[in-house]
Symmetry: C2
Subunit: 99 residues, 2 copies
DNA sequence: TAGATATATTGACATTTTTCTATTTGACGC
DNA sequence: GCGTCAAATAGAAAAATGTCAATATATCTA
């Protein structure tokens, strides 16, 4: 699977902000409602909503609407996609460029 | 290995910018001199230097000085560190939170 | 239908990041 | 030492991102 630079950057945007890492840590405890994340994080509701959008756009998190509640969880497929990129990174194809 | 949110974010800063992904793509061809990266990327020398600093700070790239030249390459250990984080992400410990 | 609640969106502002030009540092050869 | 070349640093401008208060939307309940 080949991804262009822009798409790859969008995936990893999930992990380059401290607050988003904390949200992911909370989601490691299993699926959570936005209101529960909001209680634990010290940010306002619109800020949480903004971060959840970035996390969902990256594919690392998926949302499930249930009535008025949004339930978020870590997407195994999303994480695997990021993993595949890292695996491919280590696969160096030495061009023998001399000098 | 437990990393705090801030340190994790620093590692993944390597991958959340389009230009840095392109630099990593170039480094997949093996170790490269800064001047060679500069030729391929359409950015100025100080901008390249800035991105290389972020890549090195993340641990994903290492630099090797040889005379006036800096040679950069992908660090397998750095990438593995990022991989470990992703592996741990998928390891969900379901807290049975009811409701 | 009206009110209440959960989340998303809008718009403004502050901070951070990216980028540039100009300059400095470090290493080489003369 | 002096000039040259590669890379880093400083400082400023522009762009992107993170944050909030206010508002809108969607859903439930009475």
């Amino acid at each position: 699977m080949e991804l262009d630079a822009k798409k790859t950057a969008v995936i990893f945007k999930a992990f380059c902000d401290e607050n988003r890492i904390r949200i992911l840590q909370l989601l490691q405890g299993g699926e959570k409602c936005a209101c529960m994340l909001l209680e634990e994080m010290h940010i306002t509701q619109p800020t949480l909503s903004h971060h959840m959008k970035i996390l969902c756009d990256s594919g690392i998190v998926t949302g499930r609407k249930e009535g008025k509640w949004m339930h978020y969880s870590i997407s195994a497929e999303g994480v695997e996609c990021a993993q595949e990129y890292l695996i491919s990174l280590k696969d160096i194809k030495e061009e023998n460029y001399n000098e």
